[in-house]
Symmetry: C2
Subunit: 552 residues, 2 copies
Amino acid sequence: MKPVTKTLATLALTAPLAACTSQSDERPNVVLFLIDDLGWLDTSVAFGEECYPFNLRHDTPNIQRLSDEGAIMTSAYVCPVSTPTRTSIMSGMNAAHTRITNYTSVRKDWNPDATDTPSAQENDVLNRTEWNVNGITPIEREGLTRSVHVTPYPQLLKDAGYYTIHVGKGHWAPGGTPAANPHNMGFCVNVAGQIAGKPRSYYGEENYGNTSEAWNFFSVQNMAEYYGSGTHLTEALTLEALKTLDYPIERGIPFYLNFCHHAVHTPIHRDPRFFDKYVERGMDEGQARFASMVEGVDKSLGDLMAYLEAKGVADNTVVIFLSDNGGNSENLSKGGVRHTQNSPLREGKGSCYEAGIRVPMIVWWPKRVASGVRLNTPAMAEDIFPTVLAMAGVEGYKTVQELDGKNLVPLLTDGSQYVKQAMMAGEITSQQEANRYVVPESISGIDPERVVTAHFPHQWKPYQLDDIDYLSSVRKGDWKLVYRHRTQALELYNIGEDVTERNDLSASHPEKVHELAVVLSERLRGWDALMPTIRATGKPVPMPDEVAKANI
Amino acid sequence: MKPVTKTLATLALTAPLAACTSQSDERPNVVLFLIDDLGWLDTSVAFGEECYPFNLRHDTPNIQRLSDEGAIMTSAYVCPVSTPTRTSIMSGMNAAHTRITNYTSVRKDWNPDATDTPSAQENDVLNRTEWNVNGITPIEREGLTRSVHVTPYPQLLKDAGYYTIHVGKGHWAPGGTPAANPHNMGFCVNVAGQIAGKPRSYYGEENYGNTSEAWNFFSVQNMAEYYGSGTHLTEALTLEALKTLDYPIERGIPFYLNFCHHAVHTPIHRDPRFFDKYVERGMDEGQARFASMVEGVDKSLGDLMAYLEAKGVADNTVVIFLSDNGGNSENLSKGGVRHTQNSPLREGKGSCYEAGIRVPMIVWWPKRVASGVRLNTPAMAEDIFPTVLAMAGVEGYKTVQELDGKNLVPLLTDGSQYVKQAMMAGEITSQQEANRYVVPESISGIDPERVVTAHFPHQWKPYQLDDIDYLSSVRKGDWKLVYRHRTQALELYNIGEDVTERNDLSASHPEKVHELAVVLSERLRGWDALMPTIRATGKPVPMPDEVAKANI
């Protein structure tokens, strides 16, 4: 390099205050920190009534700190797979309502339901559903079918003066559709917004998949700075996310950061910052790789928190930590024994059993959310929409879609203070009691026994998986009903007593089965949800209340 | 699609004024509208002393309008190829000074000088130079060599409160370096910022190169919305650029848009909006494809202007229209006869003859730049840096590099008014007179006979091209000297009389040769510019004044 440095200066010294400042804008910044495929048991934060052995696998000090200083949502529910959760978040609608119940392909008009092998469909008793394979769209466009027109909340935030940033995985819709572009979703800034459900590679050495030999639609964009480096994708996305924040922070503009990590989705690619440690602890290769990815995400959260503190805005920033579905218990590249990796929860990603849909969720909001509390009122993916807008003080907004989600802010603020008081008063003395302490609807605005549904009318893999494919479920209070579309079997669990869903009580509690079947069926009918058709008859799989009625 | 539209609303109705507005910020918006490989004769705007036949090939009504309402820079000079111009713009330095004199590869530490065939180098009398193949960098980074650390002006604009947006081709540095990332260059927003010098494809039908079969580093990122569509890349980039402008405009924040089209660089891919028209006019396939690309760029400019007007900000926006080098006269995919496509100028892209370095430039600034004037004071790529900062009112800034460029604002404002007065007074009655009318240095702050150098110590293609490879040149007033490194020959032209550079006057004007050789040598020595070495002796090619001295 030729020395051309003649006039010395640092950029920091040449940064005057912007002309456009808004110091009086006290609206909070909001970060949705969305992790992919992170299971309920994958962090040191025990969301259950006790700390299970699997909570001890991974070092997650920053997620732990977030939970110590914020509220643990013990009953947060999303969808069994990625896109339905992400489109529920962006639309405020339940996935059964949008009819986006499976993950979208990178290709428009393509149904990725598992038919990779002809026998997968031919041997099935069901035909696959005609769901909205083109995801959501923020813009109606001629010729775009099987798509749901919605007003995404980032657009409403932007309209209200928020600086909106998307980083990482999108997966709201296929290529060739408006939602393939974060700028159409209401984001001012897009970094690496991706139509695919996973990255081609997490490795800088592999250019995150951007090589002539490896490229496919999963290759990650906007990362050329790190090509050939040892920077893991989780770190690269973090560095890029922080770069985008200086503009709004220096100008006093409130921001919304939609920070969507690809981790800890497959491919299970080691994060070199943490891998060796887990090998030394005796983990096998796959477990250590996965553990390093989890800790990479934890480090990303820590880096974000440190940045917000260094910039002096942490006190006025909300962080919502969430996973898009349960931990993957089907792919063995992460090590462990298939179908057990979310123990004691049953099954994993793809399933309507707890491990597929019950996920880590923490909300951190200094001074507004009480620290170290547990809130067991169910939260759902579609709640994010009205909740973020309420946090931002956006009211009276209009959307083209009908919202299903609830505003969680009263629960998070008044509700968490209510629980904190009980803790201080000694009314809560154990983790189990904390997990069962009820915030009344009069405070939170939400029925603590609100109905939580899940609906997955699909086969996930090219082979049949009885505990994953073609399931629906409903939870109300401690009771949960699971409906199997292939066999039209109904199972009943008391997940308050039996979080593992191993003790089917349907035979002994037919009235409870019927009650929940009616609740689930009413929801599904109200949303005009899709059911698969039975190959033999050509008729739709009956609603669960029809089955329950027949059983009584 | 399932009809879920229950609450009707339009986004336009839900866009209140932002909390952060700055109506009193009267600083102008600035758009650098940078075209790739657009030749001096490629538009209907006649930059020369007359309208040449080649000015009549393409319909460019919007570029014409820009020139009618703004100032035509008749003597705008850049570098023979892309990266040197783009890094000069971003650094404010002459390319000979940065030692970035050829285009950068997509790969770090890779010298793309033409050695594709072993014979190309072996048969040459010169060894290739060790230029700064890693381009510029806004951040010093350990292990990064052959790179020049600079403070890019978008960073200074951002620091001063401007909202800075990059769209399209970057080509400031290879992958794996900081300048591969527009966010490091001071841009708040990056759309499709590219390390490569051209797009893999202009066709939406080909996903702009994003297919497993076609992918390479030239495939365009951030365009998933248009995959499979008939949207030409020029239109897609335009649509995306406009999307990024609503945020600053609605909030009254001044913006800088670095709008860098890939067009009209190869591959010469038809713009379907305009192609048929040119075929009907009798053009051959290649000519019609190229013509449609030129008109596509013109349409982009028109769409931008219409958008600025519709938003009410056109009156306070500067548009700088510029090409990064001359028209390509070597690639026959655009039709025509090789080496003649910039007629009457000599040669084309890659060359230090006029057609390689003299480019279309127009500056449009309502109320500040007089309309319909011609300014013949030379402008150079490195002038953009101080000029844009002056337009934005940024003063007293510090940079790690020493600037070579001049602030063109006094020329553009007071100078254009001075010329306009002369036009009104009837002192200028012809295009030729207009092109020769001089704005004195007392008004513009710039010597109308300022020294313009070009330096290309490289072989461009895998085969030798005598009128392109290994040339340097200097222009001062009407006189121009061309120095051939291979033969150490000096040629002298009076481009005021002979814009074609066909009449070599060196034999009859040895003193003028010597005078210009001294000027050129002083510049090159002052910048510590690289000269190739002579294979036979291992010594550098002598400076032109050593040759001129020997010739006297």
